[in-house]
Symmetry: D2
Subunit: 267 residues, 4 copies
């Protein structure tokens, strides 16, 4: 019988944590061995996510739980404040960290890479585990070599505070590396309503739509005479990130060192 | 045998004029009886548009041609500078004018309406003969009663000088009559790139995309928790206006007076 | 102070029932006065749906609970097997039924209408409470007068057993009433892969896409030379039905008799 | 001054031929040196396409015109019947052929490759010069590694005789090389209208929409729990092929041998 990957989840009762728990319970090559949350009672993790009881009870003490459960991999979406300390703790215990957050400096990542190399374990830090979003960005950047005239339209919920979205700016950066400096449109163009033409980024435009009921969507529209190429990714809920988390759990078993950015797992 | 509608076209060698000539030649209940263009040689109108010769030769003198050809209807897309004088001339000759242009004052229209009533003929003046665009606007306005959270995204060619488009502003006006004053989005929303959130109109946003190869497209995206309703009209070229012109030619045969706005023909 | 509408929910722990409970708790002009489910323990209904406790405890005996709670309106999505008896019980108690189900005969509806008239209360029976879906169908039917060339593409989850969807067939029926008998396409058309051209309905085609992660989406694509009109409704989850349920709760307070079909509430 | 690429066009008065003439006249690194069409009078090629006269007059004798004009490259979209003889003639004269057609056997291509190698010139044969369509196919195939659940929806004019389109089948083949054999959907699925689920290809479905006014569009919809990735290419007219033809004209100057398939020029 093949060895299952033993997985622990920090922040298991959070919105992302619950999705990760469900994913680990469902994937046949993974075994949930621990779930931790500072502010949660001793509930069975399966019951918590609406599945069958799984025999793993939520714990509050991360270090003790990790030490006892001896997972291969720990998944943590608790955010930037706890990210550095949790990552170091995991590596010290020989556990591969899958960190879904920002909040690391380049120097910090270099140090964590060194620690992973020493322990001969893999790890990954990524602000976004969406395979679909990564593919959309890659394809848009590749296509911009042939379709340099383009605009980005991104859609999020109407209570989102910032515009444009992080993903759209990241997309714009990746496109700019390929596309160069072309300034689109007619130089004499005028807005009769200010802002109608969207946000200017390196020669092209980003439009941010904010409406209730939308989780995260983005379309890159590219056009030349006689044709248009459209690459669109729609996320409906947090489940969209789970195939990426599952892929990361499997990948960190296969190398040594700390990788920053989920895109390195996608070819 | 049923009487065919006798149609004359002013500005017949212009881009819209050629399309109108083609339409009249193809519709079985219409007969092309005259084509006029101040700056065009005496070419056969059928040949000019790439069809079979039709026996009607382009003329330069509008008044003389109309007097001799005795059309039921005259179609004119030559623009605001000539619109008033051509319309008056037509009515005086008892010919029903179908005018595809702006440039009329409310007083001017009232006067033309009186003249039409006296002669007991119909006429129509409209800046836009696109049935699809009219339907898009009507449906968006109707739906906004139930879906007040919405944004408009319009797409035109990259050399268009003004943003947002006239159609999108007209759509926004019609929506506002139904929707009222709701201000969408989070009041603490911030743009990290100026203009990303689009142009503000009465509580909602209009986004203008400008790309090569696009003639005229518009989507009204309406969303509430758990659902979205999208109404989109794409025009690929001037042919898009022809079903509306044909409808107008038939309609002006059926009433007396001058109608302003093509939307009155669409129920 | 205005009187709040007193609402009871039958099948309150079901997937639709929970959404209805949430809706009633959130709407400021409604008051949740009872929740019933045959197989559920005595949990607080607010707690059950992840909101604050609301002081209303789930009950098993529908008749007793309705008699004691004296609601104005009862909402019931429990399905065809229980629909008739629950509706009759509600009317006998003078409670307005909002029934989200099929399973009624025309004769049965006529009888329920008579009972409602006698009690001078309103009621509604509808298989679909989605305002967006109703608008999509209405708009598509209206537009088909001018755009008779059209196809329907509907998207549902990959485990749905039947194709095409009920909504797409209903849309096709409504369109056919307006559009007549036009048979689209080239009569010499041939499929090199059987079924590629979709399902034939009265001269046009319906295409059923089945993919994981999709709840319910439908697009009616209408096209003529030079233009296309697209009307699309996307539902992401059961929340999409709640504005319609809320509207129905308010509407049944305003008339006497039994209405079949939610479309009668939408103008 | 840099040498311009001398280009001749066979079938210059055809629909594709005219577009190629326009493209060559507009590209600053190309020079139109000959245009040939068996059935066309001695018109100036610039005048024919609605541009300024260019001083190149249409000729009927291909061999003589090519011999006298000494082009670097000849472009030919005249079709399978003439493709082989025109290609051989071009190579014999040391002119690089850009052939937009099918109708070559693998043996024939191998022979032409040998002839090109001997003359140390490049050539290309391709049924489709659309850069956008190639990118759509490549991206869809790449993404299907991560998004194996997918369906193809293609849109063409309502007079097209065959369904599904060649491009959609080519896309399906490329996807199948990556995706393997997964059979989508519920095995108990049933069609209440035959064909609703589309054409079956290797575990997934192709839907062919046929409507007036549509030139060529295709969308590959890929979905997993919580997300969808959509890759769409819309062609509005023959201009869509011109960037690809221009790219091919430049590319054939840079290698020896005959390449089959335009996709080899796109990275």
């Amino acid at each position: 019988m093949e060895h299952k990957i033993r997985v622990a989840v920090i922040g298991a009762s959070g919105r992302m944590g619950r999705e990760v728990v469900k994913t680990v319970l469902k994937e046949s090559d993974m075994e949930l061995v621990a779930g931790m949350d500072r502010s949660s009672g001793p509930i069975d993790l399966g019951t918590m996510v609406g599945l069958e009881p799984c025999g793993v009870t939520m714990r509050n003490d991360i270090q003790q739980a990790l030490t006892e459960a001896r997972p291969d991999v720990v998944v943590d979406f608790t955010g930037p404040h706890t990210a550095v300390s949790h990552t170091k703790l995991a590596i010290e215990l020989g556990i591969r960290p899958v960190m879904g957050t920002t909040g690391f400096t380049p120097e910090g990542i270099a140090e964590l890479d060194k620690l992973c190399q020493e322990r001969q374990i893999g790890g990954v830090i990524a602000p976004n585990f969406s395979i679909g979003a990564i593919l959309m960005m890659k394809f848009a950047a590749q296509a911009s070599k042939y379709f340099p005239h383009l605009e980005i339209i991104e859609y999020h919920g109407d209570q989102k505070l910032d515009a444009p979205s992080g993903t759209s700016v990241k997309t714009a950066e990746l496109i700019s590396e390929v596309r160069g400096e072309l300034r689109q449109g007619n130089p004499k163009e005028e807005e009769t309503i200010e802002g109608a033409r969207g946000g200017y980024y390196n020669g092209f435009r980003i439009h941010s739509v904010r409406l209730p009921g939308i989780f995260a969507q983005q379309e890159v529209v590219m056009a030349e005479k006689g044709q248009a190429l459209k690459i669109r990714h729609d996320s409906y809920d947090r489940e969209a990130y789970m195939p990426g988390v599952a892929l990361a759990i499997r990948k960190v078993m296969t190398y040594s060192g700390m990788i920053y950015g989920f895109e390195h797992f996608i070819d």
